[in-house]
Symmetry: C2
């Protein structure tokens, strides 16, 4: 009896040790070719017997994960152990895994309803302007159709962006603006530029879920501070800076994803004061710029592109099919960022920037945005009413944008609801996909523009 238990416990311990090492190889803290700790050293540090470690090493050797070199020790197999984001993060349920939700939304056919996705339905986009721009491009110069873009990207589009940012209070001359392939690529380039594997990055809790995936790809250590209806919880924010000394803070200002909150001037000021004190760099993702009031507080407006970098794109208001984003950064960074862009993507798409420029210059775009804002505001009110009727209550009433961050009725788990809704062909976005701390299991993000079909609420009701 005792012996059986001993074997069982031994078996569990051996597997535990083996699993630990497998995980380190997957996360690449143990890289191919690296020597494993000696059996004795590992046993001592793990508090297990040497025979347990010997068994675990032999099990891993049998799997081909490690290899013994007689007289020298155990080594991680040099066969490739490629970087797998899925293996690197904490083990998450599919329903709250940022990568799974992105894929699910991107893969969704026309038959799937997706109130959980982060963009507008195609029919809400300025397709008439895009069609005009395409016809115009069909008559453009050969160069525009076939040549690479310039290193910084199309100058007239950078000039237009500079004027647009000025309307938001951000002083960014065109030569401090670099075009990228997308908003995501803009943040990715900045992470490459600013952080090292192992560096700490601060995000909001909740925040846009792809920040988690992106930072995992950069092997950053991620910490979070709670977000309030007027910006980060300043006390927790300051504490996170003091305790973790993050190099970088990535956030949405203007309209926050997923909460729809708006940064208040006083919160912006305090964030910047703390950033100065702790030498923090901030990436401000202003991707929802065109949805809100231009006068809304932006960190980059207060700071003047000193320690705040602004990024953005047109995926949400113009087209996600025509890829183009931008970075507005301190002048001293532009050359090195351009080098990085050329080395890793050899410039940004000229055709995409020519098309966007044509649409943005077209008088129709401002009219389209006015109509869109009115339509979103109406959809916000209607969705809010319908959700309230189901006991699903918005956390705040957002001033603008497409997101409603909602609390489900007490005791209902959002991931569970999302799982059930998927069987009714509805893709939802449960709160913990956005929350590093996992504190949002009772929350869900709704995209009001994707909630016009009453089936969304039927499925939600049946899934709760």
């Amino acid at each position: 009896m005792d012996q059986r238990e001993g074997v069982d416990r031994g078996g569990t311990l051996i597997e535990g040790v083996a699993a630990t090492i497998r995980q380190r190889i997957a996360a690449r803290t143990l890289t191919a070719g690296a020597k494993l700790p000696s059996v004795r050293a590992f046993a001592r540090s793990a508090g297990v017997s040497t025979s347990t470690v010997v068994e675990a090493y032999e099990r891993l050797a049998a799997e081909g994960a490690i290899r013994s070199r007689p007289g020298s020790g155990f080594y991680v197999e040099s066969a490739l152990a490629p970087l797998s984001l899925a293996d690197m993060g904490p083990k998450l349920d599919h329903e709250v895994d940022p990568l799974w939700i992105s894929r699910q939304s991107l893969n969704a056919g026309a038959d799937l309803l997706k109130p959980g996705c982060g963009w507008l339905p195609a029919s809400w986009m300025p397709e008439a302007g895009l069609r005009r721009a395409l016809r115009m491009m069909a008559r453009a110069d050969d160069d525009a159709l076939t040549d690479y873009g310039t290193p910084l990207g199309l100058a007239p589009l950078r000039q237009l962006l500079s004027r647009r940012m000025a309307e938001h209070g951000v002083a960014a001359p065109p030569d401090q603006i670099m075009l990228t392939e997308s908003g995501t690529q803009a943040i990715d380039l900045l992470c490459r530029f600013l952080i090292e594997p192992g560096d700490t990055v601060l995000v909001d809790d909740p925040c846009y879920f792809n920040f988690h995936a992106l930072l995992r790809a950069h092997r950053a250590k991620v910490v979070s501070a709670p977000y309030t209806p007027s910006g980060p919880d300043i006390e927790a924010f300051g504490q996170a800076l003091a305790e973790h000394r993050p190099r970088l803070y990535i956030t949405n200002s203007a309209i926050h994803n997923p909460t729809g909150a708006t940064l208040s001037p006083v919160a912006a000021h305090r964030v910047l004061k703390l950033a100065d004190q702790f030498e923090l760099t901030i990436v401000e993702d202003d991707i929802f710029a065109d949805f809100g009031d231009p006068a809304t507080s932006r960190l980059s407006a207060f700071d003047g592109l000193n320690r705040v970098v602004q990024i953005g794109s047109f995926s949400k208001t113009l087209s996600a099919s025509v890829r183009c984003g931008y970075i507005a950064a301190p002048a001293a960074w532009i050359d090195a960022l351009t080098d990085l862009k050329i080395a890793t993507s050899f410039g940004s798409g000229r055709l995409a920037s020519e098309l966007l420029l044509a649409v943005l210059k077209d008088g129709g775009y401002r009219r389209h945005m006015e109509t869109l804002r009115a339509r979103l505001s109406k959809a916000m009110a209607e969705t809010s009413k319908r959700l309230n009727a189901l006991g699903v209550t918005p956390w705040i009433e957002p001033q603008a944008g497409m997101f409603l961050w909602c609390r489900l009725p007490h005791g209902i788990d959002a991931a569970e609801v999302a799982r059930r809704a998927l069987s009714h062909d509805v893709v939802l976005a449960p709160g913990n996909a956005f929350s590093l701390s996992g504190a949002a299991s009772n929350f869900m993000r709704f995209n009001v523009a994707q909630c016009e079909n009453p089936k969304v609420f039927e499925a939600l009701s049946r899934s709760m």
Copy 2:
């Protein structure tokens, strides 16, 4: 007198120590927040006096690069020391710096002649087909104009790529093909997936110069093996594998950049045998696929997407303005590669892939490529004749493509010639930009499609 000399030598030593540390901070081997070695330890290891090190540390502290914490030592300032590719590599003359050449070519206005650039003039590209595709897209569904692409990218384009690869002997089912924003992004994603900072990567000597810049961004250790007219020098290749155990080899098959050489079947077979022996993964960049004979040897054809990954794009034959590339990889890698793509660029451009699909399906594309191949072949013969007349002799007579790799008359330095030619508004590509070992100072790459203007040869003649 003695004292003056002492001060001078001391001054030089202090600056030497300070420069070493500045360089380590720039290269990020000393990262922000890291503790510097103690004064005594540094003095011992550098073989200088402790007072020299104290002076150097104080100089760096005055510059704000490091900071003293009383009782604890010196630390690298936590202010950002961002990644600068320019500071990371060896100090190169502008003329042979890959990043500088790329920028110069990308920035070149219509008044600059650029026989050194790696692409065709706009007038050689299939602009009529592109214009038809743009007009067609102006009538496409809303979704195609405004929605994100699917995670793997447009299915009909992946099917077409799969059929095209089959013509080249490469068996790649559509679900093993993932679209990317560009060929460069394809290699970048693979590097993210397959290598760690500090890993060793093997390239050809000479090779496409942006491989050097890209690998610098990944902080890889780069080694090279000489390229011969039929592929890598097998003996040197095997030796590099045995000595450096690279994880990855990046190469062009079919038509090699910059030499225009073609891989022979026997060389392909030997490379793959060695790759098996040393567990090497190979990225084969087949970007010039459409220029050559479809039957030309490809590593991925022999290997069957086992340890060889193929990448490509349409920048060279169709349009560099419409960005789209692809990766054909082992089935087991596709999910993790897709995750990485979503995390770092949130999908590839749908419009770009729809446009390329339309052009490729258009009967005009094959006719265009036939005309283009004939035109390149004629330009190759003419450029070769003109260069020979100046004593500039092609290394080989390439079977196809746009590149002529040429030896300059004895004793003439290609970088020097490039510097002088630029003052005549001609951008050249001197050999050492392509050569890790710096063995190609007497070589230059010419793009025959960019050599139609006689001014190219006048400027070359005046610059030698």
